[in-house]
Subunit: 301 residues, 2 copies
């Protein structure tokens, strides 16, 4: 494997500063999903924590660095999860946190960001506009701009999930990782490829890339991901529905991408042991019911 931006020693150091509430998350086999998927399925659950997503693994690392040595203020753009995670991490360390979000983001998520004492600024546009506004605030105010996936700490935090997977017995054949900005996929992919080189473990990123991929992150991704699977919306909602009925889990769409990827290509995963990272559960319940209600009643391999 070529050299990514990540370094395993730094990832181990990141693990030492992350709050225990985010570490050593459940990893368990979910047999009730298996008849419909035709493979062995294990779930790595990243939602049972104070912010309901894996994002705090990275924001805690950033906040710790700032608290020790840096500006005492930080800003990020967020559709919800990163903002909550940064607000939570910064509050505990006395940092001044600003989150910029689209005015069209889920109201419940915005309320939670405010409840965590962050300053919330709304832009009248999409997430890319929020990113631009966050960068402008950082420049004007001389504070730290946190950019998901580009800032190495966000990848290192996510990569600590990989440390936990690499320590697992029995091992697995494939890890399915949601691909958004790329922190999760490059972080986990780096560790799994580095620490289980003798195994035949595949790392597969699934989902849809953002509108503007970050070149440095894309370079890393090409080194650590064996493949990327594009999944259809209908497969995502079918995956959400299966996780509800067979695993009792409420998940956000990104967290169902792994199941969706299996549904898209059943033959590829048949008889294998697949780990899927359930990366977030922060949904608006009404929207959730619409998505799950619109899913096909029964999809299977």
């Amino acid at each position: 494997m070529g050299e990514t931006r990540l370094d395993t020693a730094r990832i181990r150091a990141a693990r030492r500063v992350i709050d225990p509430a985010f570490l050593d998350t459940p990893l368990y086999r979910c047999e009730a999903l298996e008849p419909d998927l035709g493979c062995t399925v294990s779930i790595k659950l990243e939602t049972a924590n104070p912010v309901r997503s894996f994002k705090a693994r990275g924001t805690v690392v950033v906040a710790s660095l700032l608290a020790d040595n840096g500006p005492r203020a930080v800003v990020c753009a967020s559709a919800g999860n990163l903002g909550q995670a940064l607000a939570w991490s910064g509050r505990g360390r006395g940092l001044d946190v600003t989150v910029v979000a689209s005015r069209f983001a889920t109201a419940a998520k915005l309320d939670r960001i405010r409840a965590l004492d962050a300053r919330l600024e709304l832009v009248d546009g999409d997430h890319e506009m929020a990113r631009e506004r966050a960068a402008a605030i950082a420049r004007c105010d001389g504070i730290r701009l946190l950019e998901d996936s580009l800032d190495i700490e966000t990848c290192e935090g996510a990569a600590t999930i990989g440390l936990e997977l690499a320590n697992t017995v029995p091992s697995f054949d494939t890890v399915l990782i949601a691909l958004g900005g790329g922190a999760l996929a490059t972080g986990v992919g780096h560790v799994v490829k580095t620490l289980t080189p003798d195994d035949s473990t595949n790392t597969v990123a699934d989902g849809v890339a953002g509108r503007r991929p970050i070149p440095a992150v894309l370079d890393d991704l090409l080194l650590v991901a064996d493949d990327a699977i594009l999944v259809r919306e209908a497969s995502i909602t079918a995956g959400m529905r299966m996780l509800l009925h067979h695993a009792g889990l409420i998940v956000e769409p990104s967290a169902a991408l792994g199941i969706a990827a299996i549904l898209e290509d059943c033959d590829r995963f048949a008889g294998r042991h697949v780990v899927t990272i359930v990366c977030g559960s922060d949904v608006d319940v009404d929207a959730y019911h619409r998505w799950v209600g619109s899913a096909p009643i029964h999809r299977s391999c």
Copy 2:
């Protein structure tokens, strides 16, 4: 505290034989629940494991003892969770498992028990009739009868949750524990009372007792529980709804008893730090929607 049937050294020994998938479960503060409840709320989540409830902590202990030294067959009566847990624990240790259930139990739970290779026998009556039939099978076939809460291993397994709570910093004021047969309440109560004697931690059992309380279990309960709170059905469904909307958790009714207890007596818990054990998530999704859909839209303290 007087002498219960439980012994902390035996509980520590039980922990050493329980599969890691059931240990060190998430414990985290859920701030989104707090505005409506008027107290600090932490969740101990016992649903992210292969059988979706805490019951396997106890059945693994029983199955290990039988595998080492005992009849290679075991029978239990179950409404679902105990049967799944025993089937899972026995299968991995080469035991012959029989589960007796009411014909009126949830179909999905019965399917899962069968899928775990257990022999399932249905009785045309309620759970008490299933208990009688299980005892008769044990007598006729000379195999082990597992009786939830009466058999000390089921209490010791549940008590390992208490070990995890007692190790927690920051500590809490009250632990709310579902009271069914009593294994969870006496097990966790014993450990919390034994290991945090200097704290003022209360253990409170909530819910409704079974039709036939077991005298030995009741004796233990009176020693370790500071109080028992009777909750109304409407508070249970309101608790389920709050856990869905604010914590993103699908739970079975017994797992919402802690939240229900707070709703029943807001003043008592105001400003305290309460831990509630979310003990199971194995619901039929259609029944779940009926319960949650019938809950009052908004209940709060």
